[in-house]
Amino acid sequence: MRLTIEVWRQDNPEVEGHFETHLVEGAQEEMSLLELIDYLNDQLVSEGREPIAYDSDCREGICGTCGITVNDDAHGPVKNTPSCRQHLRSFKDGAVLRLEPFRSGAFPVIRDLVVDRSGMDRVLQAGGYISVDAGTAADADSMQIGHGRAEKALDFAACIGCGACISACPNGAANLFAGSLLNHLSTLPQGSTERSKRARAVIAELDESFGPCSVYGECAKVCPAGIPLSAIAAVNRERARALIRTGKDD
């Protein structure tokens, strides 16, 4: 395949970035998007130039490290699939691929296609956890959780923390990410004693680091973990519930 790659280059967070255009020949349909960048990088380095910096790790779609914007789509043209599992089969010979970092105000560019997603961890630090110390947990079998309930919790716990939802959101909101977290933990009994406290803290952090949700629904279109859009409603539900339970932690 012969492809034209327009790729975002930016040396560090302080300087302006720009698009750089490369013609790539000899790309193959079986290549993943990331293998295409590897291929291009190999040529760049062989020519003595600096390769395109980008994030990736497991390349199986579970670690959430990778993520680039391809022709305006977070992760790439195939819906609900991480960049590492997107292949060039999706493109026609001669296609133009515009590769950009995940875009959002909360994701400053570190270099080229690599962005800083630490805002997502701040949401967890705010209260996105269960306060149980090592060794103190109750017997897991004494805690009865129905099959369906456990499966529902897992549907939301499946989030891989890639940030595509935030990048796809025209508002820069992180409600799908935070909603999946809140929904997962509030579905399980072990998370219920601090449910309201968690909701208040997590949602307050959302206000500080991310934008407001306008229910565009773009987030759920790109989510590689297939988190359903109802996660964003969970944010509002949990906040309203916490309001009713003012003064209480659970």
């Binding site: 930016q10 300087v15 302006e16 970035g17 720009h18 698009f19 750089e20 255009t21 490369h22 013609l23 790539v24 020949e25 000899g26 040529q43 022709n71 305006d72 875009r103 959002s104 105000g105 909360a106 994701f107 400053p108 560019v109 805002g119 796809a168 959101c169 025209p170 508002n171 820069g172 909101a173 929904n183 949602i203 307050a204 959302l206 206000d207 500080e208 680091s209 991310f210 934008g211 407001p212 949700c213 306008s214 229910v215 565009y216 629904g217 773009e218 359903p228 859009l229 109802s230 996660a231 964003i232 409603a233 969970a234 944010v235 509002n236 539900r237 949990e238 906040r239 309203a240 519930r241």
Partner: protein
């Protein structure tokens, strides 16, 4: 093989945390959802009342008078109507205020690189909410001047109603017999449809209704049908006037 062809510059991303706002995003969304639902119900009832135009002038004018004398003598003449208007105005201020609050926060949160490549009807209605909202705001002003206050854009020969009787029917026909005015109404109703279809759907999420995919597609359908009914009901009237079905 790889070769540099051209470069072009583009703005850099901005970032940073913000201070915790007084009105949280969730609160702003709740305000919009509650007021939006009130407007939704209002336009539906309004449309339902409008359809009385097909039952003839006496009936329609009596309905207009009925609205003014509602809850008499508990409220004076037009008293309830004014309470109603004040409630609607408050809702409007809340709705519009929060809309601007959210859109300005969204702009900041997104940073320098706007989201591009949005596709589909759903995305279209979502991203045009601010535009359709502003158009509707202008339309409300037009509509009040035209058929309530009876000034400026009102048709010639506008007759003000009184405790003795209403001329709502005659005014309506007079206004809609002007093709340009009719066009304004028709366009406004299409825009109302777009605004309502997304707004009602979004309100379900804003209220924290966590539902399954299947139920969600039903909600989309119901919101769409509701908005469609309001649009078609209202549009039928200027068309009926222009085509002479009612006069």
């Amino acid at each position: 093989m790889a070769s540099l062809v051209s470069t072009k510059s583009s703005p850099r991303a901005s970032t940073g945390r913000r201070k915790r706002p007084l009105i949280s995003n969730v609160l702003a969304k709740y305000i919009m959802a509650v007021t939006g639902i009130i407007f939704g119900l209002f336009v539906f009832v309004h449309m339902y009342g409008n359809l009385k135009v097909y039952t003839g002038p006496e009936h329609f004018n009596a309905y207009a008078l009925f609205l003014r004398t509602l809850f008499e003598p508990l409220f004076p003449y037009e008293g309830f109507l004014w309470v109603f208007r004040i409630v609607l105005l408050t809702c409007l201020i809340g709705h519009v205020g929060c809309a601007f609050l959210i859109s300005s926060r969204a702009k900041k949160a997104r940073g320098a690189h706007k989201r591009r490549g949005l596709r589909g009807f759903k995305s279209f209605t979502a991203r045009t909410m601010l535009v359709t909202g502003i158009v509707l705001l202008l339309f409300i002003i037009f509509h009040i001047l035209d058929l309530t206050a009876g000034v400026a854009v009102a048709p010639e020969g506008f007759q003000h109603g009184s405790e003795a009787g209403s001329f709502a029917y005659q005014n309506l026909i007079a206004s809609f017999q002007r093709p340009l005015a009719s066009l304004v109404y028709i366009v406004a109703m299409v825009i109302l449809f777009l605004h309502l279809a997304h707004g009602l759907w979004a309100a379900v999420y804003d209220f924290g209704v966590t539902v399954s995919e299947k139920v969600r597609s039903w909600i989309i359908l119901i919101a769409g049908v509701f908005a469609l009914i309001v649009m078609l009901g209202n549009i039928s009237i200027p068309i009926a006037v222009l085509t002479g079905i009612i006069s």
